[in-house]
């Protein structure tokens, strides 16, 4: 079982704000989004993943992660759109197709 990480989110946010490199910044935002998700702070996680998409809009990973958060919030329509987008960018994304099949059906 995964043990919930106890991180100082504010500290991390401040650090990310200083990062100049776009790729690195997007990666850190994804990481922070995942931490928020793990701590069931879904709205904060959505915020971070959306910020990451603005920087790295063709990254299937971010759309998938955002989809999982929406699905956790019981918003399947939004989730399925995001999984579809993730699969457009990376047709081999197995988790995205697994989740999409669960919502839309085979």
């Amino acid at each position: 079982m995964f043990r919930k990480e106890k991180k100082d989110f504010k500290n991390l946010e401040a650090k990310i704000a200083q990062i100049k490199d776009r790729k690195e910044k997007a990666e850190k935002l994804i990481e922070l989004g995942k931490f928020y998700f793990l701590n069931e702070k879904y709205n904060e996680a959505i915020g971070k993943f959306k910020e990451a998409i603005k920087i790295d809009e063709n990254n299937a990973e971010i759309y998938y992660n955002l989809g999982v958060v929406y699905e956790s919030k019981n918003l399947p329509d939004e989730a399925s759109q995001l999984y579809t987008k993730a699969l457009e960018l990376n047709p081999g994304h197995q988790l995205a197709s697994k989740h999409l099949e669960k919502i839309v059906g085979k």
Binding site: F2, Y42, V68, K73, N74, L95
Partner: protein, 228 residues
């Protein structure tokens, strides 16, 4: 172990056959189409290509010894009526037949179906309900007055314990279970979640954003709760 025969392996018949196997039944699957028989042969106990309107062929397969028959050749009305009649003559006690229209259903009942199902009509009703009331995920009618409903946790409940919310006293309904999503990271570091079912949750349980509540109560009271 119950022995079942499924006659007609379209999408409906094949799904019924697979689900019966999962429930531990022995399933004999019959269709005229060789392809369809091949497709299901790995899943069911026995899959045979045969004409289901031929009494001799069915007897040779031991269909007369089955407990349940599912007649799923709905689109071909004539065949479905003939097969249902044949199942009755073979002495099968439970005969479930798929109908495509109300009059088809009436005929099926008359020739011996013990239960008639209308998958298209029923799915239509379900789809309409889910579009009209998207917050209701499942609705089990216990009586004209009482229901069990699966609903998203109302916003005003989130972050509070069941004890604080006190739905039984304040809203006159019981939360009999909570379906909860537990976020985790996969081995490759991807977000994912597991689903957990908390049966008869205690008063200390805090309602989360992602929770689905399974509530039992009168339709009126549940309706009020949904509007919170």
């Amino acid at each position: 172990m119950k022995q079942c025969v499924v006659l007609g392996l379209g999408i409906f018949g094949a799904s019924v056959a697979k689900a019966l196997v999962e429930k531990g039944c022995e399933v004999l699957a019959i269709d005229e189409d060789e392809e369809k028989v091949k497709e299901i042969s790995d899943v069911v106990t026995q899959a045979v290509q045969a004409d289901a309107t031929e009494e001799k062929a069915l007897r040779a397969l031991g269909v007369d010894k089955m407990d349940i028959a599912i007649v799923s050749t709905g689109e071909d009305m004539e065949a479905s009526i003939l097969i249902t009649l044949l199942m009755k003559e073979l002495g099968i006690k439970t005969i479930v037949a798929k109908a495509v229209s109300p009059s088809h259903g009436t005929v099926l009942r008359k020739v011996g179906a013990t239960r008639v199902v209308f998958p298209e009509r029923d799915t239509g009703v379900r789809v309409a309900k889910s579009l009209a009331t998207p917050d209701i995920l499942e609705h089990i009618v216990l009586s004209p007055e009482y229901s069990i409903l699966e609903v998203h946790a109302p916003k005003s409940f989130i972050g509070r314990t069941l004890g604080e919310i006190d739905v039984r006293a304040k809203h006159g309904v019981n939360i009999i279970a909570i379906k909860r999503k537990l976020p985790y990271l996969t081995d490759t570091g991807e977000s994912d979640f597991k689903e957990e079912l908390l049966i008869t949750p205690g008063a200390e349980e805090e309602v989360a954003d992602s929770d689905i509540l399974v509530v039992l109560g009168t339709n009126k009271k549940i309706d009020k709760l949904r509007k919170l």
